[in-house]
């Protein structure tokens, strides 16, 4: 079966202000099948964000030089024009942002912000878009949709905002979801809630996810396969269990903390608690 997205020899090179070049991504190859979750791990600056930006077509020619091939649903993304890319962004491939407080407009109501995404990809009346927005918000588990809809971002908590941003990303039923550190700014409880939500939605909607996260526990909850990056290259790729049990590369071991002291593993074994 043809994979949903197939990336071959992708390279991203940034032009710096002093005319030198920065190779953020170097000859990266990977595939994501339908309904599959691929995790992406690596230290800050290893090129994870650049890959996400390249997949979404958010890198303008002035900013960076992107080469290689990105095949999405059988079509080559790097040869598409801006309008075609804009149609795919948010509807075919969607991004869930890392810091939801910053990703939302401070002066627009929540419902309107979700509705805007729907309106951008559907030729419907504003009222219909707003109704759909409320459905999208209900889908991410908000009990009191009315109140959340007419609230402003500064009135909601971090966990709630993360769910709003997720609702925005899922509003147009994308095939591929890129989740950029979806639990990073949240406390432990909200983290596990959001991960459970993602798991449930992924199963229900059969969407593929590219999960970018430096936290092993997050990857363990969701990822089927995992790739580890260092300095713009993929150093190891395979099923999550395999990389966790038998890491080959030093970077993999560092990222998955498999050399964690025994003391931690002991205290974290809570199967016996209540």
């Amino acid at each position: 079966m043809q994979p949903l997205i197939s990336v071959n020899n992708l390279s991203v090179t940034y032009r710096r202000a002093d005319a030198s070049q920065h190779h953020a991504v170097h000859n990266v190859n990977f595939e994501i099948g339908e309904g599959e979750v691929l995790g992406l791990m690596g230290e800050s600056g290893c090129g994870k964000t650049s890959i996400a930006l390249a997949l979404l077509g958010l890198l303008s020619p002035e900013q960076a030089h992107v080469s290689g091939s990105i095949e999405f649903r059988g079509e080559e993304l790097l040869s598409k024009d801006r309008r075609a890319l804009r149609a795919i962004r948010g509807a075919g491939i969607s991004l869930v942002f890392q810091e939801p407080q910053l990703a939302l407009s401070p002066v627009m109501k929540i419902r309107d912000q979700v509705a805007e995404v729907i309106r951008a990809h559907n030729d419907r009346k504003w009222d219909c878009c707003r109704a759909d927005a409320e459905l999208a918000l209900a889908r991410v588990g908000f009990a009191d949709v009315r109140r959340i809809s007419s609230a402003y971002p500064h009135q909601l908590s971090g966990g709630q905002l993360q769910r709003v941003v997720l609702a925005q990303a899922l509003a147009c039923n994308p095939a591929l979801l890129i989740a950029d550190e979806p639990a990073a700014s949240l406390d432990a409880r909200s983290q596990s809630e959001i991960l459970a939500l993602l798991r449930e939605l992924q199963r229900e909607l059969r969407i593929s996810i590219l999960l970018i996260s430096h936290t092993p526990e997050v990857q363990a909850s969701l990822a089927d396969r995992l790739m580890v990056m260092e300095h713009g290259r993929i150093v190891e790729q395979g099923s999550f269990e395999q990389l966790y049990r038998n890491p080959v590369h030093a970077c993999t071991r560092a990222m998955l903390r498999t050399t964690a002291p025994a003391r931690v593993a002991e205290e974290m074994d809570f199967e016996t608690v209540t």
Binding site: S44, D187, A188, S192, H214, V264, E271
Partner: protein, 280 residues
Amino acid sequence: MNSGPQSNCNPCGPLLRVSGLGKEYVLRRPFSRKKVAVSAFQDVSLAIFPGKTLAVVGESGAGKSSLARCIALLERPTTGGIELAGQNLLTLSEKELSRARRKVQMIFQDSASALNPRLTANEIIAEPLLIQGEGTKSQRRERALQLMEQVGLNRASERKRPLEFSGGQRQRIAIARALALGPQLLILDEALSNLDAANQELILKLLAELQAAQALSFLHISHDLRAVSEFADEVAVMYQGRIVEWRSARDLFASPEHSYTRELLASARSVDSILLERSA
């Protein structure tokens, strides 16, 4: 109210004692008469002993950070008292306060915005010495270089500016700066939250080394239980602005009492337990 873990009675008395501390913010709507009092935290009583680490965990929200800011004397609490080595910090004069500040230093979550982007690493680390009027220029520079080595930074990068360093390295600069005046208590306000896993480990290792070498105390504020568990001697759990549980780390993780603590622990599962659940 909790009086703390019984197992930790240091005969020398605590380095820092906080009693019944509370902070309220009064907000007023412009163009209106209504005043709203928002309580960040109330009735907090804690003690930190020399050379020990107290972790304060809880949900993301203003409570823990407000508490840290009050203890660091960046804000004045509305009620309660703070004692450092037996000295009541809230009744000090400006001059005495300035001397007391040397003993308590704070490290913030976002290293990029906590460091002056226009100064070099050396200047940043030497700044507290400059402010307190210590030593000549070359003495300060040398001390800053020593501190850089202590935190694991290369002496040769002293002239670089903060944005030329990685996140982990910036936090090291922040730690070096905090150590410049020889403090007794270091407050880490979500200092590891912006770092990736590998860097978190490294910084925690550094902090443990510093603690052992200099008998430093740490107040570690974090929403990440995992990071905290490796490092803390005692853990206090904050929920809705109050401390609901305060025990030794070992006891807390082994047999949590409060329901919120149990919730927190349940959500901080290990990779192994997660994988086990998934394959079931």
